[in-house]
């Protein structure tokens, strides 16, 4: 296929793509109107359940004020990050070294080498000592 034919194909498909995009927006609007916007909340029980599913237990944790993100220290020298995904909660468990933790100006950030789980950011008044240690801050 030459460039001209390739471009002609795009031009022919453009109205279909534009129409599809409009339909997508319409369906998202319908979902919103029907009230499919519930949000889960993370609490200590949920963290315990997530850890238990991986054969670990929570030793200590910090939960964001809006209860949508959390970071927990687990038994066995592991960390768990959890994030609300709509009505579900996604979690990642990894050895302590696999997570980059930083705490600056009351803001905690925890970063995985995983594009599918974006960095976690949350405001904290004062991090617990284990977290301050992880972030390289004086406890």
């Amino acid at each position: 296929m030459n460039l001209e034919a390739y471009l002609a194909q795009w031009i022919a498909e453009a109205p279909v793509l534009a129409g599809s995009a409009a339909v997508v927006v319409f369906m998202i609007a319908v979902a919103a109107l029907l009230g499919f916007r519930n949000t889960a909340k993370i609490d200590a029980l949920e963290l315990a359940r997530l850890a238990e599913a991986e054969g670990a237990r929570v030793e200590d944790s910090v939960i964001a004020p809006n209860a949508r993100q959390a970071l927990a220290r687990l038994s066995g020298g592991k960390l768990m990050v959890a994030r609300v995904m709509g009505t579900d909660v996604s979690a990642r468990i990894a050895p302590i070294g696999a997570l980059q933790v930083a705490f600056r100006k009351g803001k905690l950030s925890a970063r995985f080498a995983d594009l599918g789980f974006p960095p976690l950011h949350m405001r904290l008044q004062a991090p617990p000592s284990w977290l301050a240690e992880l972030a390289g801050e004086p406890a």
Partner: protein, 316 residues
């Protein structure tokens, strides 16, 4: 679908009828069925919808179409290239079309099974499994990297045998359309059809992350392939499927969803200490690691089986 066929001087190649753009024609029905399912879920509280999850699924579907326009020609060119070396001139007859339906469905089974068992192909296919919901919008959560990820190679044997490329594409499209309606929790079991067809019940098992359900039911249209090749698992009323992937995503961003596994492969290969490790990361099972520290489907199933066994042994 009906595109550049007239310039080819291959009589067996050309269909005796105009093949309609099957997927395009099906889209209005997709939209209508999704709207109906949303309303039924709202009214009956059976099944689950979440706006952001559905938005991501629909965006992935739209992106899949865009990538199909951008790169679909490569797959078609590969089919045409392979067709030059076909073993037989099968042409467009009814018996050949029936044979092609079965052959395409078997090719889909092979593709789908390997897409779950080898990380290189999983990197594209994982996208379809990233939703923690199971509804009709999940059906549209499709990969953006299928052609670049060489998924089309699984259908090349069909054109090498001599099935016309357009016939293969036609049955691929029919299979894709068929698989739309099975992404629902609203339909239970379907009686005797469960023996032959891939049904919502069978496909719920396929999308589940429960250890019992992992690596099962790869069928496209016919479930017979799973029954034949030992990958069939029936839905257990006592064990409700939990949907998604082993390491659930923490994002609704379509771009992250589309490429996260490819980036993961890249990072792993960059950190590999030997060629063997690098090849393991690319072509090993998803979750493979040199020291076995990560989880694969097999290790999860083994741990689950051991747990079941120990639970079954009465305490002395």
């Amino acid at each position: 679908m009906t595109a550049p066929v007239t310039s080819l001087s291959m009589p067996a190649y050309q269909p005796p009828f105009d093949i309609p753009p099957i997927i395009t024609y099906a889209v209005p029905a997709f939209v209508l069925l999704i709207l109906i399912e949303m309303i039924v879920v709202k009214v009956t509280k059976r099944g689950r919808y979440e706006m952001r999850d559905s938005a991501t699924s629909l965006a992935m579907g739209l992106g899949n179409r865009v990538m199909g326009i951008a790169f679909g020609g490569l797959a078609f060119a590969a089919y045409l290239g392979a067709y030059q070396f076909r073993l037989f001139d099968l042409g467009w007859t009814w018996p050949v079309m029936v044979a092609c339906f079965f052959a395409e469905d078997l090719a889909y089974y092979a593709f789908h099974r390997i897409a779950h068992e080898r990380r290189f192909f999983w990197a594209s296919h994982v996208v379809h499994h990233t939703s923690q919901h199971y509804n009709l919008t999940t059906a549209l959560r499709q990969t953006w990297t299928g052609t670049l990820g060489l998924n089309f190679i699984f259908w090349l044997p069909l054109v090498l045998i001599g099935f016309p490329p357009l016939m293969v594409l036609m049955f691929s499209a029919i299979s894709l359309v068929y698989q739309f309606w099975i992404h629902t929790e609203l339909i239970g079991r379907m009686g005797p059809l469960e023996w032959v067809l891939n049904t919502p019940s069978h496909h719920r098992v396929h999308h589940a992350t429960n250890a019992k359900y992992l690596d099962a039911n790869y069928a496209g249209v016919l479930i017979i392939w799973d029954r034949l090749f030992g990958t069939f698992v029936s839905e257990d009323d006592k064990e409700k499927p939990r949907y998604g992937i082993i390491s659930q995503l923490g994002t609704f961003n379509p771009f992250r969803v589309a490429v996260h596994e490819w980036v993961g492969i890249w990072r792993d290969v960059r950190g590999a200490k030997s060629l063997r490790e690098a090849l393991g990361y690319v072509f090993g099972p998803p979750g493979w690691s040199p020291d076995g520290s990560r989880k694969t489907s097999r290790s999860i199933k083994q741990a689950w089986a051991a747990q079941q066994q120990s639970a079954a042994v009465p305490a002395e």
